[in-house]
């Protein structure tokens, strides 16, 4: 198990390093890269001074070396537009994205497993078809549009929930107020993430249902519910666990757009603001952080996977 863990951690670090290489060089070798971003209304001397200040006169390999050396020490550089350390900006925004992401992830997982199970039990019945319709819709409806529709319905028409932001001004940050702000963005995000979980749960349960030990359990005369929850469910959850890594990646992608719709001051919105202002250090930092979280989550999933299913360790 130790060598398995070490190998996975090593692989994760390599992937993360390659993420930094790919994103850094993509940005710095592009015709519209950082050097081109520093030119608004500046005289030649001012421009030169700015290039020098941001270290953009160095050859690109030197720039990468310096940047990476900083990253390793936790220094992600300084925002071009705000003049603040990128690390500070990320630290301000990350908790908001984690709150939103966690709420959406838990909702999507719980509802997804529930619906997937119900669908598998009533295979090919109308419940199954209804669940499959819901998850196909979740895959097809653009999250940001669903968000807009939700705002129209729940904020504009019914006035039940706030349309945007993370907390009302003057509420003093009361928990209930924060929760009310969380409902719409987390619900919409969860709806778009759920289909993966539903699909995997359903097919895993049907797969397990054909297994010999389940047939044996049924042959012993156990009730269908007992067979399902005592025997089939545990094994069916293994593939569901595996899909959670994928869902986390999708979560970050989805949060970029959803945060913009709902004015949620998270990592995704920071990245959008940075993209609009061509604030390269911030985009690189946000992307690297998102990549790091994805790598860590996948690592955790791999570990859990190996704990739950010992066969994996001996690959």
């Amino acid at each position: 198990m130790t060598s398995f863990v070490l190998r996975r951690v090593g692989l994760g670090l390599i992937v993360l390093w390659l993420v930094s290489v790919v994103t850094f060089f993509l940005v710095h070798l592009a015709p519209g890269g950082p050097s081109a971003a520093v030119n608004f209304e500046a005289t030649a001397e001012q421009r030169e001074a700015l290039l020098e200040q941001f270290g953009l006169n160095d050859p690109v390999l030197v720039r990468y070396g310096k940047w990476l050396a900083g990253v390793v020490r936790g220094d992600l550089g300084v925002s071009y537009n705000q003049g603040l350390p990128v690390g500070l900006l990320l630290r301000q925004r990350l908790p908001n994205t984690l709150t939103l992401g966690l709420a959406a992830l838990v909702t999507a997982t719980v509802l997804g497993i529930l619906l997937g199970t119900v669908a598998a039990i009533h295979r090919n019945g109308w419940v199954d078809h209804a669940v499959s319709t819901i998850s196909t819709l979740g895959m097809s409806i653009p999250g940001f549009w669903l968000g807009i529709v939700a705002i129209i319905l729940f904020a504009v028409e019914l006035r039940w929930l706030p349309a945007s932001g993370i907390v009302s001004s003057g509420s003093g940050g009361a928990l209930l107020d924060r929760l009310r702000h969380l409902v719409l963005p987390a619900g919409v995000l969860a709806f778009t993430l759920m289909p993966n979980v539903v699909r995997v749960t359903r097919s895993a349960l049907l797969e397990v249902n054909r297994a010999d030990y389940v047939r044996t359990a049924r042959g012993k005369g156990l009730s269908p519910n007992r067979v399902l929850f005592k025997h089939a469910f545990k094994n069916a959850l293994v593939p569901v666990l595996a899909v959670l890594g994928l869902v986390t990646t999708a979560l970050f992608s989805g949060s970029v757009v959803i945060e913009s719709v709902f004015g949620w001051p998270g990592l995704g919105r920071l990245a959008i603001e940075a993209a609009n202002g061509r604030d390269y250090p911030v985009i690189l930092g946000a992307t690297l952080l998102a990549g790091a979280i994805v790598v860590v989550v996948n690592l955790a999933v791999d570990m859990l996977y190996a704990v739950v299913d010992p066969r994996i360790r001996h690959d």
Binding site: L16, A30, V156, A250, F252, S253, I272, N298
Partner: protein, 294 residues
């Protein structure tokens, strides 16, 4: 190549081929949802190509005296905040969104198939390098990757297509890779090699056709994904730029008028949802047709 003709009964071959086609058609007919989706897509394609020719309103003409008008005989779906005709913009925007989606899928599928194919066919070091790169691209959440590329390379429509394609080549490569590894092991591939077929010929003539059904399913789902991504990107102001309409950027301004005219935000999204739904249903139906066991 050895001429195999004398060994094969041509009549039997063509009968077998006919029977296979008949079986395929029977499976196709069992997919009413998929056929309906195909019909919707054909109608949409006709609407966005012929529609602008038949509908008299210009998509980009602003009219300060007629902003945010309700539907009328003149403006079938009303006008937007600049007095532009909403239906004309939907039709023009659909042309852009569908083309971007299709072309981005072609970009992603091409890169993914070449990369995944090479990795799965040659294995060894080639496979290690390519699949590690796939891991890297899978680790960067799509939208962040797309933001990086769009910021660095700009948002000319061609760049938007390439960017969205780059956003999902890795997923394609993973599937194609697995298929190539599987098919590579079959005896007929070995036989082709033994008969002297070159590597490119073996890949293109013998392995690729076996992988094609999977690739077609991926392509259909991929178009849906690409349309969603382009829409999101354009909604954020980073994709297709106004005045050129796309379904995504039509929603960009609509949000400012939610309280005044919410319906502006409904139409473009409805078209995106129906189109993507149709591509997804078509993809699922194709999967069932090609793999009736699944």
């Amino acid at each position: 190549m050895i001429d195999a003709a004398p060994l094969v009964d041509r009549a039997a071959v063509s009968a077998e081929r006919r029977a296979r086609r008949a079986r395929l058609w029977r499976r196709v007919r069992r997919q009413p949802l998929g056929l309906a989706a195909l019909l919707v897509l054909v109608l949409l394609a006709l609407a966005v190509t012929l529609g602008p020719l038949l509908y008299p309103q210009q998509p980009n003409r602003t009219d300060a005296r007629n902003i945010l008008k309700a539907p009328s005989a003149e403006h079938v779906l009303g006008t937007d905040e600049l007095g532009r005709d909403v239906l004309a913009r939907i039709l023009a925007g659909g042309r852009v969104s569908l083309s971007v989606g299709l072309l981005a899928m072609v970009v992603g599928l091409t890169i993914g198939t070449v990369a995944g194919g090479l990795a799965g066919y040659f294995r060894g070091r080639v496979e290690v390098v390519i699949m590690r790169l796939v891991d890297v691209f899978m680790a960067i959440p799509n939208f962040f990757l797309i933001l990086v590329v769009v910021t660095a390379f700009g948002n000319h429509p061609v760049m938007v297509i390439v960017t969205v394609g780059i956003g999902f080549w890795a997923q394609m490569a993973r599937v194609v890779h697995a298929e190539f590894v599987k098919v590579r092991g079959y005896e007929f591939v070995e036989a082709a090699r033994a008969l002297g077929a070159t590597h490119p010929r073996t890949m293109l003539k013998h392995v690729l056709p076996q992988v094609a059904p999977q690739a077609i399913v991926l392509a259909s789902l991929g178009v849906g994904w690409a349309i969603l991504t382009e829409a999101g990107l354009s909604y954020l102001g980073l994709g297709i730029q106004p005045p050129l309409a796309s379904w995504g950027n039509m929603l960009q301004n609509a949000q400012s008028y939610l309280w005044l005219k919410p319906v502006l935000a409904i139409y473009p999204g409805l078209f995106i949802a129906v189109t993507v739904l149709a591509f997804n249903l078509l993809g699922n139906a194709l999967r069932d047709v090609f793999d009736p066991r699944g």
